[in-house]
Symmetry: C2
Subunit: 272 residues, 2 copies
C-alpha cells in the first residue's frame, strides 16, 4: 500500500444516526500539511474514500467546502447516501476532527470509463517529467533545505521551467502553474490521489502577482474523467478571473499518455 | 416583481428538525419546464433563494446535484447552516416535492463584488443581442409555433448565427453554443437568475454531434462573479471533453458591459 493510500485510509465504524448513514474513522497523518494545516485535497480524499466505501464506486464529480483547517489526529467521516441509482450514487459527507466539522462534501460516484469521443483539452507540450525542474534537490541531485509544504516529502512536484520563478521573486506574469506530479514511493495515481493532486501545486496566481500569501480555498470541485496509466501525471492550473477578493482557478490533469484524467475548479479568497 | 422572481419565491415555514435548520415553502410553477420536467436551473435558484434568505447573502459558489425530475406543484426547501463566518456562510439544502428529494445543494454565500484585478475571459466578439437570431419569431417578427422548452415563453434566448444550426440538422461541428439571455418581461438578471441562465441554452454538444437527445445533468456548479448591469447577458457554453458516456460543459456569462458575471461547469450523462 502506498503512503498516500495508507494515510487516507478509513475504517467502517458503524451505522450513522439515520437510515442510509454510515460512520467511518480515519487518522489525519502528520507530514501532509503546510505549516501545520493539513492539505485540503488530502482531507477531501479521505472523505471521498469513506463515501466510495459506502456506495462501492469511485468519485466522478465531487465538491468539497472547506470549513476550518485541520491538523494531525483522529477524524470521523459521516456519510449519507442521498440517492442510489443504476449508473450513479449521490453521496454527502462531513469530515470532522475533535468534534468540529472540517469539510463538507457532496458528490456523484460511479464507474469511470475513459475512451474519449470528443476532447479539445490536449496535454501541454512542455518539458517532460524528467526534463522538468525537481523540487528539493540541487543541481547535483542533493536534497536541499528549501522550505515548503511538508507533503513534499511524499510527492515529487516538478514545475515547468519558468513557473518556479515566483519563488525567487520572478513571476512569469501569467496566472499559470504547470508541471508534473508523482508519489515519491512510486504508488499508482488512483481517483483519490487525483483529488489530492489538484490541490498540491502552488496557486497559479503566484505567477501573476508575485505575492505568495495564503489563499484559502472555499470550494473545490473535481471531475474524475479517467484512470491514469502508471507513471506521473501532468497538470496545468490557471486563474482566469480574480475580482472582489475572490479568485477562481481551473486545473486539468493528464496521464502520461496524454489522456485527460481530471478537471478541477476552485473558488478561493484573496487576503484583504 | 419579475415573473422569474415570483416563480421561484420561497416563504419561511418554520424551524427545521435540528438547530441551525430552517424550512421554506415554495411552489414550482408550470411553464418553466421542458416536456413536463421543470428546468434544473430553476430548481437550483429556488433552493438558493431559501439558502440566501436563511443566511442573508447571495450565492458565490453553489453546487447542485439533480436527483430526480420535478414538475409543477408545492415544494419544500430544508436549509442547513453548515458554517457562518465573517466573509462567508456555508449552507446546504434539499429541495423536495411530494415527499421526494429532488435536488441537493451545497454552497458558499457572501457579498458579490466585481472590480476585476485579473481576467483573461473576455466576452466573445459575436453578434449583439439585437443582431442575434431570435427564437420563436419569424422574419416578420410574428410568433412561430416552434417546439421547445415551455420556459421560452418567459425568456428570450438568442443564439449566435450558425449556433442554431443543430435544430435543422446542420450542427457547426464545434461543441459550442453562444448567444444572449434576457427575460421577456425585462426583469433584471440577479444572482438567482444567473443560476437559471446557465441551464437554459441547448447543450453545446448538440452542435458537435447533431444529436439532440436529452443529456441529464448530474451536477452543476456555478460561481457568481459579479452582479450584471441592466440588460441582457451574453453567454457561451462549451464541451471540452466527452468520454465514457459522461459529458462536461463549461459556461461563461458576461453582462452587457462585457464583465464576467458567472461561470458554470456541469457533468452530464450521455444516453447509452
Amino acid at each position: 500500500m502506498g503512503s498516500f493510500e495508507a494515510a487516507t485510509a478509513v475504517t467502517f465504524a458503524g451505522d450513522g444516526p439515520e437510515p442510509g448513514w454510515d460512520r467511518y474513522s480515519g487518522e489525519i497523518q502528520p507530514g501532509w500539511d503546510y505549516a501545520g494545516a493539513t492539505n485540503g485535497g488530502y482531507l477531501m480524499a479521505m472523505a471521498a474514500r469513506a463515501m466510495a466505501a459506502s456506495c462501492g464506486n469511485p468519485p466522478l464529480s465531487i465538491t468539497c467546502h472547506f470549513l476550518r483547517p485541520a491538523s494531525a489526529g483522529p477524524a470521523e467521516v459521516m456519510v449519507e447516501s442521498v440517492r442510489s441509482g443504476r449508473r450513479l450514487s449521490t453521496m454527502a459527507a462531513t469530515l470532522s476532527a475533535g468534534g468540529t466539522d472540517i469539510v463538507r462534501v457532496l458528490g456523484a460516484f460511479g464507474d469511470i470509463v475513459s475512451e474519449p469521443v470528443l476532447t479539445t483539452l490536449d496535454a501541454p507540450t512542455g518539458a517532460s517529467f524528467d526534463e522538468c525542474l525537481r523540487d528539493r534537490v540541487d543541481d547535483d541531485d542533493r536534497p536541499t533545505t528549501a522550505s515548503g509544504p511538508a507533503f513534499l516529502d511524499h510527492v515529487d512536484i516538478r514545475l515547468q521551467p519558468g513557473d518556479e520563478g515566483f519563488a525567487r521573486g520572478e513571476p512569469t506574469g501569467r496566472a499559470e502553474m504547470a508541471g508534473w506530479f508523482a508519489f515519491r514511493d512510486g504508488a499508482p495515481i488512483d481517483p483519490f490521489a487525483l483529488l489530492f493532486a489538484v490541490d498540491v501545486f502552488a496557486p497559479s496566481i503566484f505567477n501573476f502577482s508575485g505575492a505568495t500569501l495564503w489563499v484559502p480555498t472555499v470550494e473545490l470541485t473535481v471531475h474524475v474523467r479517467g484512470i491514469p496509466v502508471p507513471g506521473p501525471v501532468q497538470a496545468r492550473f490557471r486563474s482566469a478571473h480574480v475580482a472582489g477578493g475572490v479568485l477562481g482557478e481551473d486545473g486539468d490533469i493528464w496521464d502520461r499518455d496524454g489522456r485527460l484524467v481530471a478537471q478541477s475548479r476552485q473558488l478561493a479568497l484573496m487576503p484583504r
